[in-house]
Subunit: 256 residues, 8 copies
């Protein structure tokens, strides 16, 4: 099944000419979708029933619109578009069909097309940051996880230098299903939170800091060496990856 | 409650003088146990019903024996002793009460005192290694996870240079609840496995390699940059950390 | 033979005053050409019958034109001008003699003057990339190799996180004469491809990525540590070097 | 086909019970050989007619003997055993069948079982070192390439600080089919040789040096930045990899 | 004043031939003492009335004895000998005059000759460690500070992964005059302690850890990036430097 | 006590409705102040009687104004606003109540609201720089320390390459209570100054330099390895941190 | 002698009121000159009779003019102004007295005020570069050395990849008094030149290159590890330092 | 001229059969000497009249003896054998002809065969070290320079933390012809000495130190960034290179 065939099929779906079930059946047999400018892996989305993710950076609004339409047509309820700057989001929105809802989250640089799903995970995902500068990466994680069907609790600016700020949220931490900790500079928050919690902690070093923070290296090494159990680490500033993994864990016990 | 009081209490429990429920109640109120040479955090174990872990390295057999006895007396069913060399294990075993079972796993350098629990997690933890040299760290992860109540599937020596070796195990990978991937050198296995799987992947860089592997740095950077979603990373050679986290995730949907 | 003499000679060749054979003979004896702003090594080109390469960056259109004219006059069939930005290419083209063909490849930032040679290598050079962002470096390799007389097969966006995309091209990989693999982030593609192939694999780390990719360092280390045999590595983003070396290998068994 | 079946088949071949053609046929269908302690990829060897390589480090003499016997029985003419220390080689030799020839090269730490093949490549592989300390890695490359059917020319101790030593070998360099350059410290030799040669140059940084050589890092970076075309780099001290790749290139134009 | 003269003077002091005041007067004018194997800076000690420090590593017992005797003779009440291994300490003690008291602290690898001074600082120096493995460096700091006239409070094994262990010592932290925090691995303790305290915090990264702790680098970077005010850092494992500086600060308001 | 309540209280204080003592009493019980965009830790300031510090970077003039007003209303005599660029300072000043004094120090990028306190430390803080380029960071340290009640002596451009420049200030160095040394490039000044002084030396590596200075890394390593006693180090370019710590030390013997 | 006094003295010299000898005598006694914005070390210049150097970067044209005038008035024949961009040079030139000659070298970013001295060194300084991109740093070295009284031989673009280009200049290399070698990328030229020469070689790594050249780090390490004797290294891109040191060496045997 | 011929010639020289002049004449025409285990470059020695250097590490006593004899026979007055451990020196001495003088310097690990030449340089070479641990490398430099005909002044243990120790030697520093500065840890001594001196300073970082000295890296970076003019740097611990270069500079004005 080459690109033209796939495009034709998706258009037929969009126009109602071909039923979704039928199309899904045919797509299941094609290992992946080659639209020339991007290869879509439709299998994972279809198989798991979770939103498909489109990496927005470096794609034109037209390309994003086409991919999004194709995915929604193929049965996705929501499409997550990441790394989308404000300008691109405005352009994207301007050209959309009125029927296709689109919500843009500027701080997270994420747009969600379709319907934001209700939370259906096991519990709540707590997202804690060391300082206010970590917030954009934290929001990327938060919106990602929310769009994947999770309830989020935000604990922002609870860095270890003022421990009482963190300790006043001990309950939320103890009750969390998964915790994402974001911190730049010395990255100490991950260990402290993990010491208080009973659940998996995903540590995200951020590039916040200066001098010997080396754009997140200090936080990265700090988090990798955490003396607390249950901590694992993703790439510097990788809010999306943390949100995605957190959602995966928070849906462990949930029937797909 | 100081050290002497705690020791007395534990001895009373061991001798039956004080009931376990009673002791647990009293211990719950003491934040931690100070034995002079080691502080035990009895809360986590008691609260969660999972085995307590003793870091064996740098402790004498006498100390390990005392801690282990105290923990078993306090109601633990199993005690995991990590980083225990063969000699130390032999010495430890020699001085043990006959009643206290002790199994030693030399490759993993782990001993388990008490009763190895039956698997009670959601699914299976798959442990995959790139080469045979990664096996000791893999076994540390495996025995840790097993002692914490998980069923383990070992896929050893399935490095990416011979892809068919890995692909012949696609079923195990697709069915896994959590996957631990261990690899040194270029660490590529984590991305490949995560691309095949639908579950969280915990990547463990190992110090296997030479030259520009820089004792695991190449694998560490490779894994942190994985283009596959759902991957997080722990410290180089941290088999225990990976096994512990994997167990945590594999028990997400299970009533504690 | 100083610069003025050489310029005079090349002008005489250009005007037909001196025959090409004659000029070649005289040039063979001069070890290299000093045009003031650039030293041309005419020996290699003449001896090997392969296109001469001009490094365009930092040279004015006039300088490039002069060098190119001199080289074509001296008997070269094609001249490869690398690292040439779009603006400079337009300027260069504007001032060219109509007789001198010039084709510009903007993504590769390469212009080819003269006649693009037909493929005369042993087999095909496969060029595989992990993601779409690697494409500019890949095209630099591709156009370089094509201008040196090779047939190219492009396998773009076949990163290891979606293994089926790569595996659907197993035939092209098995049949290749040489393979160039370009990848940023974790650079795992090189090992996986080399495991599937029987031919030399030239790995090009790209600076694609963020955070702990360290502008190609993660991919570089990963590729240097490849556990697959037959892999060697060139500098980060060095598409030209990879294309040049691939051509060299693909012409091993071919009479010069 | 599990391990027992394979072992049985190989024994039948060894005893003449099953013909080699038959066995080869059956083995072609089994993706790989699992002997428990090592997985053999019989495909590549059989398909390409080149010696199989056994990584000796960390294997017992018994294991090496079993693998070697199996491979020879399966039709290999030569088996290359790398990273084999002198003691292990002596032990290995002691237990061998008299019929199975074994030659040990202590400096290269390589043993060759079976019959060393005659050179059947396109030309000669030149191996050049910067200093005498690079010799062990150079010999690993040399014996590897020789065992894979190549003629070797050794140019040892021709470092750039005494350029006349290198220049007195210009002929060998100009005539080479492939060149392997090994150097520690500043690694400058690779660029100089590549500037003199018309063929692919494989650069091997060695860990020779002290202080700011950082165990081969200075040479590695130097070689990756070579301003000469046609140079690619393998891992620090990776003599085997260089020899293997050089052989691959030297057999490009040769019918398999 | 050359070496022989100085030695003679010191011997005269030791024998009572020259009065201490007299000798001190003469020494004040000589900028430093050259004993051939070591140059003593007698000024600082005399001027400040604090113990002189002898770096024991690499000196023979005879040399240490001579220096110590000279210093005590010159009016020092205590001489601190650092980096002194157990064997060397035993040898040193064996040859000492009975009149010269010598106390050896094996874990700190420090010997104190003369009289350990009473605490005369402003307040107490708290020394906190993340784990038990940090203890030797902590003891080096503790004995140094004690020998310089400070009262020490030890808070060992209060790492951030079990925050309650640290919080149970909030009073000691709030009341400290200076705090020395020692931690390896992620080094997070410094920030947490500094957030609780009102006094200067001297952070000592230790080389405790493995993998990506890089022998203290992770802790060093973490501490340099502390988001808490009042933290400064000394070299990895530099217990002596921390103890010396802490004493300096703790004597700020005390008349010299 | 939520944000609205706190704001209301602060306004009541500002208007005289609630007495300062009363408000302080209430605020003491609230662990921290959450204004939405910033959490204020009022405890430290109130308890210690020292100026509160507001990190200006990334805050709007309105936010800074609100925080500053709240702090002054709560009884602070001075508020230090750091990392405030010239433009932001002008904007801030424009909107201020006339009654609230504001002085801006452009080189230090610091504004001080309220009344600059008189020096009340034990002695003088000497601030020495290696070169004129270190001056902005030095001024950040100087104004910070001055605003915290210290007398400052500036010794700028006294780098070690012209030792007489430094030695002509030996008196100021000998008499200092604390010394802050700022240097980029080789950072040698810290050791030289510490060798001359009897007081704590806080070393601040600056990012001044080029090439192998690596933006302050060379100076940082140099300072961490200082062979002089009494030296500790803060982050690269961390003038504020050095000034804050110096003030803390200079007020050690002073009743709070 | 404070700043005002010095300025007055220099003005008196400029106006003829005070004789140069007299002024020099007075200046010899003052350790250094403090003009507020810059401290001049007049001693070295006067004592050694060599041009004074003014670091132009970050100084206003007025400041440079004042310093230059003062220096020329104090008896200097030439003043070297380094790191002076083209715009600043034009501004500087506009405001100069007509009597004060000023020559600007844009590629070297150096201006020379006064009279360029005739060569009075022992021999010639050869300056060799690997490629044309190294030229600006090379010119900084060349103009510096020329202004300090040296004859310069430029060998540009003689990188090791085309060895014949270098070898055709063997005579100049053999006859040199000192050689400065500038190279980026792999930095191999220093070793090769040093192997051909009998004189001191000053190696200057340049930041020319991309990818794993790491802005001159590869060249720096390569040069530090040179296997040739007589090579020493200065900072990356430090053309001035190399020119200054080369002049110093080239004037070793010359009476000052 | 092959190896056998050369050996024969040298033996004839040794036995008096061939005159030295004759042999020298013949050897001048042979570019270099290949003894199988080492290539001797007899040209430089003969041409320059300076001692030949033999790198002792990794050579057997027999090999060293043969090379030394050949060199002395060829007219060298002294042969410098570097990196020669005490045991090897004893063995070497045992087998020597009585006529061939051999002096061994254990701290420098250097032996000198033949006659130590009288100083014939322009002035004195000062060798300064920061601490006593730098002494072995300093002695390597000192003996090298002495054997090459230089007068040495040793200033050991004059580190910058006790500046008066260095300043008391200002005269020696001011009078030096060349200065070698060796320092580990922070390496500050090079800048301070260069600021005091008027002559070339060769900086040798040593691997002395611990923690963040990173085996000489801190000192290396510090020295490369020296703000003093006239400083250049050699590899970490490269005492020989520094002594060799210093001698070269100290003989600049001396007729060869």
């Amino acid at each position: 099944m080459d690109q033209r065939e796939t495009t034709r099929l998706l258009r037929q779906v969009a126009s109602g000419e071909v039923g979704v079930d039928d199309a899904v059946q045919r797509l299941r047999q094609a290992p992946f979708e080659d639209l020339g400018f991007a290869k879509l892996d439709l299998h994972r989305g279809l198989r798991q029933g979770i939103p498909e993710v489109v990496y927005g950076s470096g794609k034109t609004p037209e390309q994003i619109r086409a991919i999004t339409a194709a995915l929604l047509a193929a049965g996705q309820h929501a499409v997550l578009i990441t790394r989308l700057e404000t300008d691109a989001a405005a352009e994207l929105e301007a050209g959309l069909d009125t029927g296709m809802g689109l919500e843009y989250f500027p701080e997270a640089r994420i747009a969600v097309a379709g319907t934001m799903p209700p939370p259906d995970g096991m519990g709540r995902i707590v997202i804690a940051t060391g300082g206010t500068s970590d917030q954009p990466v934290a929001e990327e994680a938060a919106i990602t996880a929310q769009a994947l069907g999770n309830e989020i609790v935000r604990l922002y600016d609870v860095g270890v230098a003022g421990l009482h700020r963190l300790l006043s949220h001990t309950d939320e931490i103890m009750d969390a299903s998964v915790i994402i900790v974001l911190a730049g500079m010395e990255g100490a928050l991950a260990s402290v939170v993990a010491g208080l919690a009973d659940c998996p902690v995903i540590a995200v070093p951020t590039s916040v800091g200066y001098g010997a923070s080396y754009s997140g290296l200090a936080a990265l090494l700090s988090m990798l060496n955490s003396c607390a159990s249950g901590v694992s680490v993703v790439n510097i500033d990788n809010g999306f990856g943390a949100g995605y993994l957190a959602s995966m864990i928070n849906h462990m016990g949930v029937a797909k």
